[in-house]
């Protein structure tokens, strides 16, 4: 799993690639938590390059979502591939956060 951070306006983009599973999820959790603690509280999580996301990955997303919202920001997901999107839908993440086809749309949604 690789993580790339892009400072943008009005939100920052976190690009993740590879597999977010039981072995790698804690790295994502720590990364997101660090960025949020540094006041990057509006985040687009770009999952375009993520091939697999296990429940451990969902837990990372939930943790970051709560932290962002606690600080008055939000976390939105962009570019999830069909497999990952299915996991997000099934577990009900689509009920608790916003999902966009790509990071441009997700970024634009923060301006509205």
């Amino acid at each position: 799993m690789d993580i790339n951070f892009l400072e943008k306006h009005p939100a920052d983009i976190v690009q993740v690639s590879g597999s977010v599973d039981a072995l790698t999820a804690s790295v994502l959790t720590d990364f997101l938590s660090l960025k949020i603690s540094q006041d990057h509280t509006n985040l687009v999580l770009d999952l375009n390059q993520v091939e697999f996301m296990s429940s451990a990955g969902l837990r990372s997303v939930l943790a970051a979502l709560k932290e962002c919202r606690n600080k008055g920001g939000d976390l939105r997901i962009a570019g999830a591939q069909p497999g990952v999107e299915k996991v997000l839908k099934m577990s009900g993440f689509t009920n608790i956060l916003k999902i966009f086809p790509d990071s441009e749309n997700a970024l634009a949604s923060f301006s509205n």
Partner: protein, 416 residues
């Protein structure tokens, strides 16, 4: 300038995280740091002037001196695992690294060495055994959170299978009677993540669901009984039946809502949640009310091979408080089979890294089987062939429930 450098070096060695020493070619110790003193259990004064070789066994001395001689010619560093004894304290296994002799103009050559304490293999084994014992206890206790025996349901077959990927698991299933056997509670669940954390939450989720479901069923049936007393003449009316249905759905809904809010409120910081399928079956007519909280959709296979997925009716349980969970109702007909499972089944990897897959599972689940035992056993053997010698990545849990044709004598239940 040279003095300053020397002092700096000495300071660095004093602060450094491992035991350091400097000795002359005979092994007489000239300088050590605090960590060295701590390691051998003596103060600096007592250590200086002692011979480093005298702390070793005769065999270690021979082998170390031989290696030092050999490496001196090439200017190479010598590294050895040694047992240091006879200084203060007990014997200590160390990873010892010694520089070759370093010539100093006008002074005796010196050797620099560092020692890194290593745990004894014996100590490590003991430690590992202790951890294993603890995990065994945890596994045994966790087993008590799974049903020991499945309830006997006349006219129905049920078979369950559970295999943890590690010592303890985050998956669980449950089958229990409600309302004195007039209803059957069915649960298939997967707590997020793996290992001990998931196992602790498995115990909590399972207990909350069982307790809340039972409590609400008892209360709701008391409500129904008192209603019956009040409206004896209308007992067969449509309104009354609606009332009974709604009482049951409320109980089911409350069990999930209360569990969700309890976890989200009291354990929100852990971000733990679970995907849960929970159904309440009326065995007399095959009516199944269910909530699918973010779980892999169970498959209802009709007698003619047609099938239906019981898709999610709400999010996973415990993510955020006050989530909305809907109830669906479905009828299990004679010879129909309900098959529920966790993602460990479809995500099981073979040695080339391919998943077992939903399609294969669906094809197998739709096959013709004489009993739920046969269905589960066939699935398990196909899974074992698929996984082959690869280690199991996730917990594997499933159950199959079949309604027997009326008049059939055989009933059965088993868990593997």
């Amino acid at each position: 300038m040279e003095d300053l450098n020397r002092t700096d070096t000495a300071n660095i060695f004093q602060e450094i995280g491992f035991a350091y020493f400097k000795c002359d070619p005979t092994g007489e110790i000239l300088e050590v740091n605090q960590n060295f003193c701590r390691l051998v259990g003596l103060d600096q004064k007592s250590v200086i002037g002692k011979n480093i070789f005298n702390t070793l066994s005769a065999e270690d001395i021979r082998s170390l001196k031989k290696a030092l001689d050999r490496n001196r010619a090439d200017g190479k560093i010598t590294s050895r695992d040694l047992v240091i004894s006879s200084m203060g304290g007990g014997p200590q296994l160390v990873d010892c690294t010694i520089s070759p002799e370093i010539e100093r103009p006008g002074l005796t050559p010196v050797l620099y060495g560092v020692l890194r304490p290593l745990p004894w293999i014996g100590q490590m084994e003991e430690h590992l055994q202790a951890v294993e014992r603890e995990l065994e206890i945890a596994r045994d206790i966790q087993a008590s959170f799974l049903p020991q025996d499945l309830p006997h349901i006349p006219g129905w077959q049920i078979t369950a299978y559970f295999e943890a990927a590690r010592e303890v698991a985050g998956d669980f299933y449950d089958v229990f009677t409600l309302s004195s056997g007039r209803r059957i509670g069915l649960v298939m669940a997967d707590v997020v993540d793996k290992g001990v954390g998931a196992a602790l939450f498995m115990a909590l989720f399972r207990s909350l669901i069982r307790a809340f479901a039972d409590q609400h069923y008892k209360l709701s049936w008391m409500d129904v009984l008192s209603e019956e007393g009040a409206h004896e003449n209308e007992s067969a009316s449509l309104g009354h039946r609606r009332k009974m249905l709604s009482t049951g759905t409320t109980a089911l809904k409350n069990a999930i809502n209360l569990t969700n809010n309890y976890i989200a409120t009291n354990h929100g910081d852990t971000n733990m949640f679970a995907t849960i399928f929970i159904g309440v079956l009326d065995p007399s007519n095959g009516s199944l009310m269910y909530i699918n909280a973010g779980h892999e959709p169970p498959i209802l296979v009709r007698e003619n091979g047609e099938f239906q997925r019981l898709d999610p009716t709400g999010p996973a349980v415990g993510m955020l408080p006050d989530m909305l969970f809907n109830i669906e109702n479905i009828r299990i007909g004679e010879k129909d089979t309900l098959f529920a499972y966790t993602d460990g089944v479809i995500d099981a990897l073979n040695p080339s890294g391919e998943t077992f897959g939903e399609e294969q599972l669906l094809n197998l689940a739709r096959g013709k089987y004489s009993s739920t035992d046969e269905l589960i056993m066939n699935l398990v053997s196909e899974l074992k062939v698929h996984i082959s010698d690869r280690s199991q990545y996730d917990d594997i849990t499933m159950f199959a429930l079949r309604r027997e044709p009326t008049g059939s004598s055989g009933t059965g239940e088993s868990n593997f």
